[in-house]
């Protein structure tokens, strides 16, 4: 089943949750890899969304540029 696409803030919340779990050492070495992957994917998604939003806003502020 395809995972529901998270919003920016949901994605960031999940990343921060993963980081917190990593810091606490509760993740096993096996889980660490998949958690890293998940976090990396989410960060990438956030970057894309942030960049898109940034471009949209730039266009709104400076429509002629």
């Amino acid at each position: 089943m395809a995972k529901k696409k998270l919003s920016y803030s949901e994605a960031m919340a999940e990343v921060e949750s993963i980081i917190a779990r990593m810091r606490s050492g509760e993740l096993a070495i096996d889980e660490l890899s998949s958690a890293t992957r998940r976090a990396t994917e989410l960060i990438e998604q956030c970057r894309k969304e942030l960049t898109a939003a940034e471009e949209d806003v730039e266009k709104l502020i400076n429509p002629n540029s």
């Binding site: 990593m22 096996d30 890293t36 942030l50």
Partner: protein, 424 residues
């Protein structure tokens, strides 16, 4: 003239016949009054018979209204009557009639059958004029003491004065002249005739009745015109009567009198709002009045126009000034708004950029953290993952001596056998 040598009987049984007595009275009177003499008296009755002789009853009243203190029959023979009546009328403006006082030259006569009588040979109109004038002054004085003398003259004319109640005889030439004069004017006068007798004994009551009719329709009229023209001058005394003058003085509408006379002004003329000598002159006055009222209205219209023009010009100026002020205020306001908007826009842009920067830093920071926890990076630092037959060997209890284990390194793996376990 017979003079009878009749002696008045003195004995107790002697007597005269009635005729003898009458003859004796006649002879005595004629012997005493041999020449005509002047007497003053009031006419209480006057009748002219078919043959043209005028028969009168003369009285002298006391101070009250009771029975006369003296009374006598009198006659003016036809031969004298026409002349006397005409000269009296010309001189006094009145006629020989019941109710007036006269000074007359009389001959005392006595007739055996008809008795005592006076034959009037002459009448002195100046006495009657004086008498009329005295009564007239009395009327004026009474009207003044009643406080109504000025009342009608103080009634305000309505504007325009076009609805006229006419009090006149419908057949009088003066009435026709009046109507014709109004018709020639450019104004649309509305006239209503209230017919009344303007001469004769019944005239006073007839005029009063007509005035009462007009008063009952007061709202329909602006003015009353009392018109009398073309008749004889003998009835003018009517317009000196207290009753008529009192009605006119107190009338609620302004009364214009045109009662047609050339000499004295009647009391009605004096108490009326306005008076003229002829009906035509009254009509002319009404037309002039309308002229003046129209001119006044035209003046008002001009004033109104000028006032409006000034007002409009002032308002236009105010609007223009207001427009300028509004424009200036709007410009200032717009500049302020634009300035504020620019500031806001800058602030927004700045905020957005800061926000984006923060988010980027947040992501970078998260990414770095994640990287630092990534197994690949940890292995690259020289750490290794040891896997046994039961999974990752995280502690010394997870394996035993002799077990085969795989050591995963950053760039490969090593298969090894556990030779010894040292616990910390």
């Amino acid at each position: 003239m017979d003079t009878l040598p009749i002696d008045i009987p003195t004995g107790s049984r002697e007597h005269l016949t009635l005729l003898d007595l009458q003859r004796l009275v006649r002879s005595t009177l004629e012997g005493r009054f041999v020449a005509p003499l002047w007497i003053s008296a009031e006419i209480s009755e006057l009748k002219v018979n078919r043959s043209g002789h005028c028969y009168l009853n003369l009285v002298e009243k006391g101070s009250g209204e009771g029975a006369p203190r003296a009374e006598a029959r009198a006659v003016i023979w036809k031969s004298a009557y026409a002349r006397l009546a005409e000269s009296f009328s010309i001189a006094t403006g009145d006629k020989l009639r019941a109710g007036i006082s006269i000074l007359c030259r009389v001959m005392v006569t006595y007739h055996e059958v008809y008795g005592f009588s006076l034959q009037i040979l002459d009448v002195d109109p100046t006495f009657t004029i004086g008498e009329v004038e005295r009564r007239r002054r009395e009327t004026i004085s009474r009207l003044q003491s009643d406080g109504i003398w000025d009342m009608n003259r103080e009634v305000e004319l309505s504007t325009p004065t076009l609805r006229i109640a006419i009090l006149s005889s419908g057949t009088a030439a003066g009435y026709r002249d009046f109507i014709e004069e109004l018709r020639r004017s450019p104004y649309r006068f509305r006239t209503t005739l209230f017919e009344a007798l303007m001469q004769g004994d019944a005239a006073e009551q007839s005029i009063v009745t007509a005035l009462e009719d007009i008063a009952s329709r007061e709202q329909e009229f602006d003015v009353v015109a009392i018109i009398r023209g073309g008749g004889s001058t003998s009835d003018l005394a009517l317009f000196d009567s207290y009753r008529l003058a009192s009605y006119v003085a107190q009338f609620p509408l302004p009364v214009f009198a045109g009662i047609g006379h050339d000499k004295d002004v009647s009391v009605v003329d004096m108490v009326a709002h306005s008076s003229c000598k002829t009906p035509t002159a009254v009509a002319t006055l009404l037309v002039e009045l309308a002229d003046n009222q129209m001119a006044t209205l035209d003046g008002y219209a001009l004033q109104l126009r000028d006032t409006l023009k000034t007002h409009i010009a002032t308002e236009r100026l105010r609007i223009e000034r207001g427009e300028g002020e509004l424009l200036r205020a709007a410009t200032v306001l717009l500049n302020d708004l634009r300035y504020g908007l620019n500031n806001t826009e800058e602030a927004l842009t700045k905020e957005l950029r800061q926000r984006f920067d923060r988010e980027h830093r947040r992501l970078d920071s998260a990414s770095e953290l994640i990287d630092s926890y990534s197994p690949a990076n940890i292995l690259r630092l020289g750490f290794a993952v040891v896997r046994g037959q039961r999974g990752v060997v995280a502690g010394s209890n997870d394996t035993r001596v002799g077990d085969m284990i795989v050591v995963e390194l950053t760039d490969g793996s090593i298969e090894a056998e556990v030779k010894r376990i040292d616990k910390l």
